[in-house]
Amino acid sequence: MSNTVTRIRLAVVAAAAGVLVLAGCSSSDSSDKSSGASCEPSKGKVTLQYWNTVNGMDKVVDLWNKDHPDIQVESKNISNDQYGAIGNALKAGKAPDLAQVGYDQLPTLRSQDAFVDASACKTAAGTESKFVPWTWSQAGFGGEGVYALPQDTGPMAMYVRTDIFKKYDVPIPKTWDEYTTAAEKLHKANPKLTMTFFDPNNAEWFNGLLWQNNANMYSYSDDKWHVTVESDKSKQVAEYWQKLIDDKLVRTDLANGSTQMFAAYQNDQMATQLGAAWGYTGIRDNLPGQAGKWSIVPMPTWGADGNSGDWGGSTVAFMKGGKHLYEAAEFNTWLNTDPEALALANEVGGLYPASTDGLKLPALTKGVPYYNNEKIFDVFAESSKKIDTDFSWGPTQKTVNLALQDAMAKAVAGDGKLTGALAAAQASALKSMDDLAIPATAGK
């Protein structure tokens, strides 16, 4: 028996050693440069893989497939683990031809060598003028190539309970100063009422506010990233919200989009929400009893006639490893610029297009019944024109977002301040980039 045991142990050790060797072979990934891919049509029928998180996208794809028997597209919904699925596929060398990637995740994926430059594809490269400028700039990394085509955006605006403002005779604010004043008045008139909520676990939203104030977080020069997550501009935003929180003029106990958040709106406990274009269905569908009470106006600005912000939105990226770049470019261009495709994507998936022509869709120029038949999309279209085109994201954005959230949550719980959270996020950016061997330094 003991001999058998020894033999089995040896076998186990040998197996483990074999595993180590195998793992060693597969993990050293030295890949060649991604630029300069050629763009020639393939011969015969081609099937493209397209991964996305949009509900109903298969219907849009069907529309394409019907007219293009030689370029068939297979749509796969990866919404339960978007970046996990993409990241694992990349590691396994099985990435799809096209994948939906949020603007803020583009640099992260590019630092993993995820994309291929489709500049050589004239159809795709010629679409620059068709998109809202900032989207093209981010998708092409400021003109370095055509790594992705913009799909949708999340220009921000303010959702307002006009009935509450009317009831307490408070004017709807246009600037952040007026927003504070209005918050004070409403809370004074009704202590159960607060202006809005600050969700510390929503860095994406907070980034939208930073973007509005031109608080650019990254730049690249002299072979180094310069990190300015903590800057005068970002601190201005943090201090503003810290004051609202300190004065208890906003709630901090609600997670965005949660049942609890909608319950608070349902019970008339909050008067505004700083939301994105894609959020209009959330309010409409979760608060059916408040039809006619909500309106959408431009978000408060820093000073008169200031910028707006963007929260969310995605691109469709050309993934490395795809064998049919020409066909992928054809489909991608159609998907994100063709009026019929955009109309359907808006109808089934609620996408607010990044294409300037898309903003003129019939569905996006009509009044919306829930919102008093107001032309709410005009507000978002205006917002979209006032978004800083120089803003860019970092190569470890997810880590920085999480660090920002953790520190903002502490600040909200009374441990530190929101400006300190920016410092924590700055430190996290530098450390995470160092961990991934990305040269970085604190910028001015």
């Binding site: 197996a15 993990s27 970046y83 630092s111 999480l402 959230q405 949550a409 061997a437």
Partner: protein, 318 residues
């Protein structure tokens, strides 16, 4: 905590020391037969246990390097103990260990003591409707951990919870999701989930005690209390040790309860428990560092569970 049930139980009840088993291989079966019988175990064992463990170990000794340009091209190379040094220097890591340490020191004894009392009660003749109580106590274990956490999150939430409404009504203002309370709210979910499971293990052990022992004890004049404390508990000590080891492992691997509560409470950070930290680091594409964190968690788990077993096997004479 979910993979507790899959741990091989022979790990916690080692064969008796100092006694040799008789040799069984005299005129044994042919090698082919052995392979045929062992393959169904060893194949998955190698594929889903040894390979991932080996891969994690391998990754934990690698570091990322990059060549050229703003984004460059990354590759990994041997980095010795660099990742481990970073784990040990990471304040977040030690904070998460401290958090679950506190969790374990309080939650594990509370849960196991409750389970033991419930098992002993079920084993007496005092209780009616035993089948009902046994099933009722075990029922939470049938609920997946994530679902349980979602259910409890509704009970904790000030907006939706009838419990909070009730407590508000009598003047208490509980904040189950506050910075100080949220760890214990998570502990409560774990306790609710696992007490019945632990109770059942202890109860099964109690059932296997021969009735003659009790008769003998009664003849000697032992009270019910004395029988429970002096006879039942010492006899089922191995089961108690086993449930403790499972609970230590479960605590160190705590993930789903806090991860779900995180959806409604910002007081649970992305690095709340060691496993959450490992996940967060992996999400940031730092797989090598995440691997090192996982290996350290595994080593701590081994040391604690085997340490506890050694400690108790001497005491309880197991």
């Amino acid at each position: 905590m979910t993979d507790i049930a899959t741990r091989p139980t022979d790990a916690v009840s080692p064969p008796p020391r100092g006694r040799r088993r008789p040799r069984l291989d005299g005129g044994g079966p042919r090698a082919g037969t052995i392979v045929a019988f062992l393959t169904p175990f060893f194949l998955p064992f190698v594929l889903f246990y040894l390979v991932p463990v080996g891969y994690a170990l391998w990754q934990s000794f690698r570091v990322v390097r990059r060549s050229g340009g703003q984004y460059g091209t990354s590759y990994t190379t041997f980095g010795g103990f660099e990742q481990y040094v970073e784990v040990f220097q990471n304040d977040e890591f030690w904070a998460s260990i401290g958090r679950i340490g506190l969790f374990g020191i309080v939650q594990v004894p509370v849960m196991l003591f409750t389970a033991l009392v419930m098992a002993l009660l079920l084993d007496t003749h005092l209780l009616k409707l035993k089948g009902f109580f046994r099933t009722a106590a075990f029922m939470p274990y049938a609920v997946p951990g994530v679902i349980a956490a979602i259910m409890w999150s509704y009970l904790y939430s000030p907006q939706l919870s009838p419990v909070v409404d009730l407590l508000n009504g009598i003047g208490l203002k509980p904040d189950f999701l506050g910075p100080g309370a949220v760890l214990w709210s998570a502990a409560n979910v774990s306790t609710w989930l696992w007490t019945g499971y632990n109770m059942l293990i202890m109860f099964s052990a109690l059932q296997s005690i021969p009735q003659e022992l009790y008769e003998a004890a009664r003849i000697d004049g032992a009270s019910n209390w004395a029988i429970a404390w002096r006879i039942k508990v010492p006899i089922i000590a191995p089961s108690i040790v086993m449930t403790t080891v499972f609970s230590i492992i479960g605590t160190l691997q705590l993930y789903s309860e806090p991860a779900v509560l995180r959806q409604i409470s910002s007081n649970i950070s992305s690095t709340f428990t060691p496993n959450m930290l490992a996940y967060t680091v992996a999400v940031g594409n730092n797989y090598q560092q995440a691997a090192a964190i996982s290996v350290v968690i595994a080593v701590i788990t081994f040391v604690l569970s085997f340490g506890f077993m050694r400690l108790t096997s001497k005491r309880a004479g197991l």
